[in-house]
Symmetry: C2
DNA sequence: TGGGATTTGTTCGTATGTATT
DNA sequence: GAATACATACGAACAAATCCC
């Protein structure tokens, strides 16, 4: 009778309809630094911006809090998380540990199609070099998510993604402005090593790449400035069609 | 003025009052195999059992779903997760990768107090050997969480805990009954290596220990039997005092 | 210090979808 | 196959805490 959208799938780790849509939008806004650590995320404003009720906005905030991107304080407005410096360093350490696993699994096992995807992505990164900083940062993060996806391990993919977003948040807090992710060359070298099947070299390249990214976080950036949430989020509102 | 319980703490990763309490109870029930993969978790029954409304039970289910312990299907009763065999193996791989990090950080850096805690825990594990299988399994899982705590890294602690619970769930599904966690000797050897400061040996011991645990999951267990949720959860209901 | 506006915490009712007889 | 019982999805509303002037 109703052939429309009978999404029956088991909701494992993402995409619970509208809630998942809001989470994706907010993650992207965080990665692109449209919203920054300490910025307030009132349930009402969020709901209005995304065209949903407070219940849905609240669920999204709860999920993001579970991912470490949002801080929930009792009876207070939710804010974008502000990880401490120790936590920041730890986040990178854990991420490196998992991404080593990723490259170890991928070295010498990439299909032709996957190789093409990776090269296409890197090309996109290069094309974005001169443009907006936001696009560069987003693409750099997505490169790592793309690698994780290719392991075909939902577990690994999930944790790498979560840590990738948390690291992006950390960089938003601690990295010097305009020091963006200029590691496209490193991405290219890494893919070359993966295709060559040189696992040891690939792991080593990934190590140094992520260390270099973390290193840029040594200098504390200027404090964030408060702005209007509605305008900040406008470009990140997805269409609600679950 | 009000010196009572002005819990003002930032709710980072756990313990949101009643919701956190329910999550802890359910995690423990899963680890001890009182509830097993596929078992149904209706919001009503859960709420009634823990003395809370559906809203709170729902939040707990949402959080546990985020941790991979519960499966939420649209418009259907939530169930304890039933990971596939591939996912099971992946979960162990990721866990091993993180626990290597843990022992690497701990080797040669344990304080006297921490050494005492570990020995006391192992003594408890040995004492539980003859008793209920549930207690043995729980203590074995908690040993790893205790190690993670000692790194003083909230990030590492969180992911190790999450993966520990997921692995316990996997074993509940795939391990042969009465093959319980008989790795107390391995725990003792690991602690000895940590105290001796032999990082390489400690990492190797952890590797083999977790591999051995995973190995027990090779044989598929008998299918779970349905029972009464109320009675199953009775021992796991914490007092609600948030 | 105080008080009003704002924001969250929670419950409960209704609508909708699923399972079962 | 239809009807009934049941469970979830969502939103409105109220109480309590917090924020801000």
């Amino acid at each position: 009778m109703r052939d429309e959208i009978t999404r029956d799938e088991t909701t494992r780790v993402e995409a619970k309809g509208r809630v998942g849509s809001i989470c994706r939008s907010l993650r992207r806004a965080i990665v692109e630094r449209a919203i920054r650590p300490g910025d307030r995320l009132p349930e009402d404003a969020l709901g209005e911006r995304f065209g949903v009720s407070r219940t849905i906005a609240r669920q999204a905030l709860g999920q993001l809090a579970g991912e470490g991107l949002v801080e929930l304080r009792r009876n207070r407005i939710a804010v974008v998380a502000t990880p401490s410096w120790e936590e920041a360093r730890d986040t990178f350490d854990v991420r490196i540990s998992l991404e080593r696993l990723v490259v170890g699994r991928l070295a010498g096992r990439l299909t032709q199609a996957q190789q093409g995807e990776l090269h296409a992505h890197i090309a996109r990164e290069e094309a974005a070099q001169g443009g907006s900083e936001a696009a560069s940062i987003r693409l750099a993060t997505e490169f790592h998510l793309l690698l994780a996806e290719m392991t075909r391990s939902p577990v690994l993919e999930r944790y790498v993604a979560e840590l990738g977003y948390r690291c992006a948040l950390v960089l938003s807090l601690y990295s010097r402005p305009h020091s963006a992710e200029c590691g496209v060359a490193e991405h290219r070298a890494l893919v070359a090593a993966l295709i060559a099947g040189d696992a040891e070299r690939a792991v080593s390249l990934m190590d140094h790449h992520l260390d270099a990214v973390a290193e840029r976080a040594r200098i504390v950036a200027a404090p964030p400035r408060e702005r209007d949430l509605g305008r900040l989020l406008a470009p990140y509102v997805e269409t609600v069609g679950g």
